[in-house]
Symmetry: C2
Subunit: 170 residues, 2 copies
């Protein structure tokens, strides 16, 4: 099964010049979704993951499914002011300006083996911020995995210290 | 297993006077999450669901898992300007002012048997807007289910025309 058949290119979204990778055709197809999930699990099932950290919002889709298959806890990392309990915050650079992500302080225990998941690895800034949050709480990043990798943006170079995997490469 | 043990009360979030139900302690516990998912599946597995529609963002957690267990497609309903393809939009009332939700037009086919899922049934305005979107696209709402129901807000009365279920009642 070629998973690229289930990814839709959307030109000029969310801004002119960006070719957006729309994963909703994959989510809507149970066979293709199960195949993608199985392939993601194969990348990580030998790693004894305690927690899967999914990045808001599109990282929640396969993040929850990965946690389910791996028997791990699921931890959402969210945009500012969405999480209700004591939290840690991390700023990161966008193309223009900065943004911020948050994690509950009680979401990671010292020594937890953590898988960070998002739908797309682009420049890597978002996932790098998430790795910092997890490490600040004493977690060990065992793998960062992504459904899609935009290799031409060289985000992987940001993750040279981490075990980085992706399923669909452009 | 008493699932209420895994729901955390947060006073005055997101606004003063609101007692927020935080489901992150449930998500982080694999046994409790699996139990909650199994219980949600039991409410719906006899209904031949084609599509599970999850409402951004907290409806994505168990929404994707329900779609997985039921062998159904997953459809995200999102806040404005997040979905990239041709979409339908529905306004709904909030306590103060209005908000809007969007669905891809190609997400529902005429005659699809649809399960709408969200984490919390409060006043019902959000899920009602989602039901309207699904029906506008020719889908049949077979069930609306919720992890949590705040019964004192009487949101269920909004859904008198639908098969409405919830797991944890307050």
């Amino acid at each position: 099964m070629n998973l690229q058949d289930y990814i839709r290119d959307i030109p000029d979204f969310p801004r002119p010049g960006i070719l957006f990778k729309d994963i909703t055709p994959l989510l809507i197809n149970p066979k293709a979704s199960k195949f993608a999930l199985k392939s993601l699990v194969e990348l990580t099932e030998h790693l004894n993951i305690d927690k899967v950290v999914g990045i808001e919002s599109r990282g929640f889709f396969f993040g929850t499914l990965l946690a389910d298959r791996l028997g791990a806890g699921f931890v959402p990392v969210r945009k500012p002011n969405k999480l209700p309990f004591d939290k840690l915050s991390q700023e990161f650079q966008l193309e223009y300006g900065t943004d911020r992500l948050e994690i509950h302080k009680d979401a990671i225990s010292k020594g937890d083996r953590v898988l960070v998941h998002d739908d797309v690895l682009a420049t890597g800034g978002t996932a790098e911020a998430v790795c910092k949050l997890v490490e600040s709480l004493g977690g060990e990043i065992v793998q960062c995995n992504f459904l899609i990798e935009l290799t031409f943006l060289k985000g992987r170079e940001v993750f040279s210290d981490y075990n980085t995997e992706s399923l669909i490469k452009y």
